[in-house]
């Protein structure tokens, strides 16, 4: 079918047949949860409960439980929001952009990455609702006619654009993910009996896999990918507008949209790397998520890390070149002021450490890759912290200069998002196929020189 260069590594190892793929992936959904799953799930739920208690307390007590002060009005909340949205971007990047670029290796990781996108966006949105302080008034952000006369939201505000961008992104990501799931849900339905057959049958929406259906399905997927690609770029662009359209030195920069998008891909791929490295071991999927996949993701991490690095340097240059005193000071303060350590952490984690991946041995080392993905995500969290807090803590009036110290409320609400993220991901990994079976089957032949099932038959 597809012609693939012989120098390319095979995408699926161990000469799997179509039936092997079905068995390997469905096993997790059909079997009882393993002991490892139960332990990890138990811990995640405990973390979620602790976090939920704190979120409730935050809502009850107000934002005083955070370390915010008069000068620093945005800190961990918006840092976490941007960080989670950024992580979410990798799912769409892997499934939509790599689909358009015909990168067949995406088939093993796109399902899990898309699920990660959805959960990450929910985590991000939770911080937006939390930081409102009075979350029961969240509907004020929607253009609704209201009892105070028809006073509308201000469509010139990037915060309103954000509401539209995040909610559209969330809905379209769910749709894309679900459409991708339909053929696999049908596979599970056809293997199941009893109540499971009914549930998965309803979820599969009566998919039969007929040729006409597949042709339309492929058309829908391609167009959805085409729509999702500018969408994902627009989302982080609009998130960066929250800062870029303000007149705060350090925020008011035109480089923000591309720089934020590169950072989003960077941190998102790192999170996918973390999740897949764990999943492949726990679910024994080493033949599907191979060292080649890990190496390819590390290459993207190095590329986007370097793009982000260039953006950091450009920002400094432009600040110096602008001749604006306040702009210059904002950047000097960022690197050498009281929060210099966060700047140093960001530079080291994001720009210096991924350069190790220029060596193939390191790129293909699982332990180093896992560790590095954690480092990258720490670095990207610090990037947002640096942008937000160091631009705010020394404003135009030196008498209000201050420092930011997080309180237990900041930390616990952040922990809440991890609890939710892992609980949701584990539920997904138990009840839905973590690898797109239909798509993996379609690359089985192009990936190996000869499909082994055929040989067996002729032999």
């Amino acid at each position: 079918m597809h012609v693939v260069s012989p120098i390319r590594e095979t995408l699926v190892l161990s000469g799997k047949t179509y039936h092997d793929v079905t068995e390997d992936i469905c096993k997790q959904v059909e079997g009882k949860p393993t002991k490892e799953w139960k332990i990890v799930f138990g811990i995640s739920v405990l973390v979620l409960l602790y976090g939920t208690a704190w979120v409730c307390w935050t809502w009850w007590e107000g934002l005083g439980v955070w370390g915010l002060n008069k000068t620093v009005g945005w800190a961990w909340d918006i840092t976490n929001f941007v960080w989670w949205v950024g992580i979410g971007h990798a799912g769409t990047l892997i499934s939509a952009v790599l689909l358009l670029f015909r990168q067949k290796w995406r088939t093993s990781i796109n399902r899990a990455a898309e699920a990660m996108t959805i959960f990450a966006v929910i985590c991000a949105a939770s911080f937006i609702v939390m930081h409102m302080g009075r979350p029961w008034l969240a509907y004020f952000a929607l253009p609704l006619p209201n009892t105070f006369g028809s006073l509308w939201v201000n469509f010139n505000s990037p915060l309103v654009w954000d509401v539209f961008a995040i909610s559209t992104y969330f809905s379209v990501s769910c749709l894309f993910w679900y459409i991708g799931l339909i053929p696999d849900l049908a596979t599970i339905r056809d293997r199941a009996t009893g109540i499971r057959k009914k549930v998965y049958g309803a979820l599969a929406l009566g998919w039969t896999g007929g040729a006409r259906g597949w042709a339309r399905y492929e058309d829908v997927s391609l167009i959805l990918a085409g729509l999702s690609t500018p969408l994902v770029l627009s989302v982080h662009t609009i998130v960066s507008f929250d800062f870029a359209t303000s007149v705060i030195p350090g925020w008011h920069t035109t480089i923000f949209p591309p720089y934020f998008v590169a950072g989003a891909i960077f941190s998102g791929f790192a999170m996918v790397q973390n999740l897949m490295l764990i999943t492949r071991v726990v679910y024994k999927l080493e033949d599907y998520v191979t060292l080649e996949h890990i190496s390819l993701m590390n290459k993207i991490i190095t590329l986007t890390g370097s793009v982000v690095g260039i953006a950091y340097i450009t920002e400094f240059f432009i600040a110096a070149y602008s001749g604006v005193e306040y702009e210059k000071y904002a950047f000097i303060n960022r690197a050498t002021g009281p929060l210099w350590w966060s700047y140093a952490a960001m530079m080291f984690c994001n720009v210096v450490s991924p350069q190790l991946f220029w060596f193939e041995k390191i790129r293909r080392n699982i332990v180093v890759s896992f560790f590095m993905a954690v480092v990258v995500n720490i670095g990207m969290w610090f990037e947002r912290f640096v942008i937000i807090v160091t631009s705010l803590h020394r404003d135009y009036l030196p008498s209000s200069w201050t420092y930011f110290t997080p309180r237990l409320g900041d930390i616990s609400d952040y922990i809440f998002s991890f609890g939710f993220f892992f609980t949701a991901f584990l539920l997904f990994a138990k009840f839905l196929p973590v690898i797109n079976m239909a798509e993996v089957k379609s690359v089985l032949k192009s990936s190996s020189e000869k499909y082994p099932g055929k040989e067996k038959k002729t032999a």
Partner: protein, 173 residues
């Protein structure tokens, strides 16, 4: 539902079924549908189907989204409650582009997806005919409606076997 009798040819490989479709159609047999666990490129053309045109649905819904967004922002900001911000334009076009873009994508995606579901007759309560449950696993299944073909059951079975079917079953649905 009319009780039709179908002949179900089961193939083990997508290249074989793609080849067989040509042979079977060449011998004048009408194929009901071919079912496969994954998309086979070129199968729809081999079966003589026209190109899918989901893009038209996406475009129409997308345009609707753009217009709705333009109407919403223009009416609220420019007509219903104009706000004077430092004497600036009540309805600056560029600041409304993000909303227009997002609503275009939202309506295009969902409109196209639901058009697809309706065209395929899909839904949580749909009761599809599954000719062979292995067609979502590792088999490629060709269903032939006997009532719509002149050739006898035996003749079609022979042709299916000759073109590479590993088994031929009968299914009434």
């Amino acid at each position: 539902m009319a009780d039709n009798k179908y002949l179900v040819g089961v193939f083990d490989d997508e290249d074989e079924v793609l080849h067989a479709v040509g042979e079977v159609r060449h011998s004048g047999i009408k194929i009901h549908e071919v079912y496969s666990p994954f998309a086979i490129h070129g199968l729809d053309r081999a079966l003589g189907y026209s190109r899918p045109r989901m893009g038209i649905a996406a475009f129409l819904f997308g345009i609707t989204g753009t217009c709705c967004a333009l109407l919403l922002t223009f009416w609220t900001m420019g007509i219903d409650w104009p706000i004077n911000v430092g004497g600036k334009n009540f309805f600056p076009f560029p600041t409304n582009v993000p909303i227009m873009f997002e609503l275009t994508v939202l309506l295009a995606s969902f409109g196209m997806a639901f058009t697809f579901f309706i065209m395929e007759g899909m839904g949580p309560t749909a009761k599809p005919i599954i000719f062979d449950e292995r067609s979502s696993d590792d088999k490629f299944v060709m269903a032939i409606d006997l009532s719509k073909n002149k050739l006898s059951e035996g003749e079609i079975t022979t042709i299916l076997k000759k073109s590479g079917a590993s088994e031929v079953n009968v299914k009434e649905a």
